[in-house]
């Protein structure tokens, strides 16, 4: 049989989106709810947990931002962004009703299709919880088919715990959450220390039946992976989401290469065994 493949897409095609809501999260971080202006695009667009979009602010530039959720009722896609460079500053200045352009989705997904039957451990650092959130939601939505679901989360300080207001609802849906901070403050009664310690202490743990997904600073993910390996997980059971400079999102511009991988199209989500040698080489 002969199936003709659809023609390749134009990677530079964008769609107009409107900022329908802005939810301040922690200091300098907000979640932007973006809805496609064109109802046809709204109906056609979909993405899988872990993928990202290129947000385009004309005259300023583009930023690669992972999708951090989907507001089904409002038909809006959530993007949780730290205000840092020109694009994110301009985005922060737009306000509700603001208009920008978006192209995507791009990249690989968290391995949700492998979740059923396994214990799932999410390990997030700082704003790295945002790209993991759709996978957390997916896991909780399919909780009856999964084993134990755990989130280990590390923040710099008690005031920078992302999505903290959501934690109780997640716990009610069956998520075990353990939080640690690098520096405590007088009101903090929780743990202090790096998030890898939570991996060390995780009980119970059935290493042969666990999938661990981590997102955060690269150095954190390396230590998380090392801790997970020490706990008996194999490198194929560990998944990381990587970040590099991206300008095209489809492997044309060359910026995001790490070893043999284009982070944009071969990632951003990788099984750790594939990237470990390159993550552990300095300046690669």
């Amino acid at each position: 049989m002969n199936f003709s493949a659809p023609p390749p897409l134009n990677p530079w095609t964008t769609h107009s989106v409107e900022v329908v809501d802005v939810v301040p999260e922690i200091l300098g971080v907000a979640t932007y709810q973006l809805r496609f202006t064109d109802p046809l695009v709204r109906a056609a667009y979909s993405c899988v947990p872990g993928q990202f979009n290129m947000l385009y602010l004309p005259g300023v530039g583009e930023a690669a931002v992972s999708v951090s959720g989907h507001d089904v009722a409002g038909d809006a896609w959530l993007h949780t962004v730290r205000t840092a460079g020109g694009v994110t500053q301009t985005l922060a200045g737009l306000g509700i009703g603001g208009n920008l352009a978006l192209r995507g989705p791009f990249g690989t997904s968290w391995p949700v299709e492998r979740f059923p039957g396994s214990d799932i451990v999410f390990v997030a650092g700082g704003i790295g919880l945002a790209p993991l959130r759709p996978a957390v939601e997916w896991a909780l939505d399919h909780g009856d088919r999964l084993g134990r679901i755990t989130l280990l989360y590390g923040a710099r300080s008690p005031g920078t715990v992302l999505f903290a207001s959501q934690f109780d609802a997640w716990r009610d849906r069956g998520l075990c959450i353990d939080v640690t901070v690098d520096r405590s403050d007088p009101g903090w009664l929780g743990r202090v220390g790096v998030v890898t310690l939570l991996v060390d202490r995780l009980r119970p743990l059935a290493p042969e039946n666990t999938i661990l997904l981590t997102c955060g600073p690269e150095v954190m993910m390396r230590y998380v992976a090392r801790a997970a390996l020490d706990r008996g997980l194999s490198a194929e059971q560990i998944w990381v989401s990587l970040e590099r400079n991206m300008q095209c999102a489809v492997g044309f511009c060359g910026h995001c290469q790490l070893g043999p991988a284009f982070i944009c199209k071969d990632g951003p989500v990788f099984p750790y065994d594939r990237m470990a040698p390159y993550l552990n080489t300095e300046d690669l």
Binding site: P8, W12, A101, F252, C253, P260
Partner: protein, 374 residues
Amino acid sequence: MTSGSPGLDQPLFLPRERLGALISELQSRGYIVVGPVIRQAAIVYDELYTVDDLPRGWTDLQEAGTYRLERRADEQYFGYVVGPHSWKQFLFPPVATVATAVATEAGWNVTAADGRDAPQFAFFGMRACELAAVAVQDRVFIQKDYADPIYKARRDKAFFVAVNCTQAAPTCFCASMNTGPRCTVGFDLALTEIDDGFVVEIGGERGRNVIVALGLAAATNDALRDAEAARRRAADGQTRSMPTEGLRDLLVGNPNHPRWTEVAERCLSCTNCTQVCPTCFCSSVREVTDLDVRQVERRREWDSCFNFDFSYMNGGVVRNSVRSRYRQWLTHKLATWHDQFGESGCVGCGRCITWCPVEIDLTAEVAAIRGDVS
């Protein structure tokens, strides 16, 4: 077409004085004919208006860090090897607009480039290594899921007149990369220059349609024999080679080899090698706006992994040292390109050797790493 046999058709003979008629024929079919011309004491590629624009009677002398033109003893049109230009600049322009944005009452109106205004080029004088380089970039820019509209539109329209090399520069190593010196695939017409004209091979229907208009006779056995001898000179004349066996694993497996530090002491990180390389494809996109930011162009420009800010991310640069940038370039070109595209990113044209201001020779760097390891 069977592999190794350039065409079904019998080769034709194009008398030297009718070379201009082939250029005219392409022009009459609407092609912008681009070919070798002399500019600023180098043979580069630019629009050809007549056959007299060709560098007839000139040759190029090349070595690491050295290039100069010299008169030939004869009047050959294609008696040179390759210069600083490649055809890359016509298919993947150094500056191109990938999208435009216009501010309207209803918000931004963004339009992506669609390639509809792509010029129709005929490339006149492509070498075997250059045909191979185009095939390498095809795999970069025309993929299953996405295709670059600018590259693809230009590529689809382009007509390729190849010219077999009849001499080699000391910097050439296409034979060891399996990309030449014989043009075997990917051309519409392929010429081999002999004393009184050209033996013409036909690569396909499109080439046949053009060449039949010239009403040429079949090449004689003498002409075929002369052409074969001329091509053999290019093969026999190659002195450099790249040891490709096990090369991917050698480079990927030695990111901390001391040679990277050593070469970084010589490398200026000037980007010359990536600019002259016919396969290097890195680019950056810049916003170019009018004064009140109502009209915006997204301008894509060639970039280089040797530029300091190429790996900029989150307030820092990943590849901080010349060592890490040279390692990235060479390892990508010769090793990880295999992982990404199933082939080497190097076609053995030798441009990066010739145009390196400090005479770095990638074949020597590979040999040094191989020698120390094995």
